[in-house]
């Protein structure tokens, strides 16, 4: 690894560790930034690297929330009774029950979402291009509607989880580091994955699936596994969100197709589809833009956001990293090489 890269990674890690203590007032925003990075990086696994633009990844986020909540509650109480009380009643959780439920719930959410990704993918991966996008969007919307009519998990009211036991400021830092840990894991994971034959195979599917078939690549198998891996991380992120938000309901916070479901796509487009750093850069820029407009242009924030999406999609499709690759191809090793006879032998 080049020296510059090591410095870059060390610096990123240092900022990650220091940020919540340096800016204690922004603890929740910083945690949300990591959530954006996670959903952007995982969206890019299928959207950027495999060429399957899913609008339904938010399904795994929402499902992760519910699975984590149900597991953590179900370990201690009857889930139906608990949600019936809708935050009322006396439902105490000891510290051990809270943290045990939290970790098992988050892990369970990841595993459950992986399995559902394989099942849904088996049906939806027959669709190509915009049909896949619409098909997966349909799954997410349908799931939201179904869950909001399912009384056992609280119906349209959603679920109220126990509050973080202890100092709430420490709680903020705790959730920040949970998101950051998943985010860093995702980054390290995809960085490794894209360097393997597996990574090359999903790139081949993106560039020309028919050719990949003709070359004997197990296309469906790779597609299912990739989506399952993405769903694993998104599901866990959803699980953390459930505990961080304390109360969540199906349509606005869990299966929020028009918010986070679209934001993750915009982040990736803004930063650069199909690149390692693109989703991270895009998530940071997008989150900054969003927070600034929400704070200083309240009332116009959705207009500003819409304008950003339109400008990105129409004029800036390759994103920041794609633009850099175009302007400075030599930074990425894209060049005509001098013939080296020895090397070829």
């Amino acid at each position: 690894m080049a020296r510059n890269k090591i410095i870059l990674y060390a610096l990123s890690l240092a900022i990650t560790l220091i940020a919540p203590f340096a800016f204690p007032a922004y603890g929740t925003q910083l945690a949300t930034l990591w959530l954006m990075i996670i959903v952007a990086l995982t969206w890019d696994m299928t959207g950027g690297q495999m060429g399957y633009n899913s609008l339904g990844n938010i399904f795994f986020y929402g499902t992760g929330m519910y699975v984590a909540a149900v597991i953590s509650i179900g370990l201690v109480y009857d889930v139906g009774d608990y949600t019936n009380a809708a935050g009322g009643g006396i439902y105490e959780f000891t510290d051990a029950q809270y943290f045990g439920g939290l970790f098992l719930g988050i892990l369970g959410a990841g595993i459950f979402c992986s399995i559902t990704a394989v099942l849904i993918g088996y049906v939806t991966f027959g669709l190509r291009g915009p049909y896949f996008a619409i098909g997966t969007l349909g799954v997410a919307i349908a799931a939201g509607e179904l869950v909001s009519n399912w009384e056992w998990v609280g119906g349209g009211q959603g679920i109220a989880l126990p509050v973080y036991p202890g100092d709430l400021d420490i709680g903020k830092i705790f959730f920040y580091f949970l998101f950051a840990a998943i985010g860093v894991s995702v980054f390290i994971f995809v960085r490794w994955l894209y360097g393997t034959r597996f990574g090359a195979a999903i790139n081949a599917i993106r560039d020309d699936e028919e050719k990949a078939d003709a070359m004997g690549i197990h296309a469906l198998r790779y597609k299912l596994i990739t989506w399952a891996m993405a769903a694993f991380f998104v599901g866990m992120a959803g699980g953390i969100s459930a505990f961080q938000l304390i109360h969540f309901e199906p349509l606005e916070s869990a299966y929020q197709t028009i918010n986070l479901g679209i934001f993750m796509v915009v982040c990736v487009l803004l930063g650069g589809k199909g690149t390692l750093w693109g989703p991270v850069v895009g998530a940071i820029l997008f989150h900054l833009f969003k927070e600034v407009t929400w704070n200083y242009f309240l009332g116009w924030q959705w207009v500003a956001l819409g304008a950003l999406i339109v400008v990105t999609v129409v004029y800036f499709q390759d994103g920041v990293m794609g633009w850099l690759m175009h302007k400075r191809p030599e930074w990425f090793g894209i060049k005509v090489e001098a013939k080296v006879a020895e090397e070829a032998k």
Binding site: T196, R197, A214, K345
Partner: protein
Amino acid sequence: MSSIIEVQGVSKAFGGVVANKEVSLSVKQGGITGLIGPNGSGKTTLFNSVVGYHPIDAGSIKFEGKEVSKLPVQEIARLGLLRTFQQTRIYGKMNGVENMLISLPHRKMSIWDALKSYSSEDYERADHLLEFVGLYEKRKLKSGDLSFGQQKLLEFAMALMNEPTCLLLDEPTAGINPTLINGLIDRLKRANAEFGITLFIIEHNMRVIMSMAETIYCMAHGEMLAQGTPDEIQNDQRVIDAYLGAH
């Protein structure tokens, strides 16, 4: 020499259009077999049937004695029967080396193998084959930016990387600069002789196919019109009529 591909009475219709009507042919193991015919005579349809791109209506297709007419494309490819496309297909967003590496045979690769990185032998083989087709200097460029002829050469190198036992080439010289064609003929012959790959080639360029193939089949209107050595085909009145439009 025994035959590696046996096509028996294959028919294929698209709606009312009969593209192949009871076509039979055999491709000799280790040799070079040609397939010619006017545009629309059903050559590419026959190729597509052989590699499993679409189901056939009747007949049988055997590869190394095994019936393959009901198998999907990827499985046939993993048996070692590979095709290149008339409209060249490469992975445009990847560079030459990546295109080569992804073409490593997947028939022996398990999902755990897929999680490994490429070995230095893989890179050497990729570089060697890129050198073989004359693309070594441009191997780091985005393949989509290469010229059509270069993409065609890259596709050929990718096919070789896959270590097929038999390679079906759909018009390998179409769109290639005439001075490059001789080089390509030479490389196809070397691939056949050195790597022992059986070649089955659709070609419109008569000079090319006559100088390479041992056996040539000629199709017209979806039917097999004639077969024989290059000399026999060149002097066959039916073939001449088909090309000049007497049919």
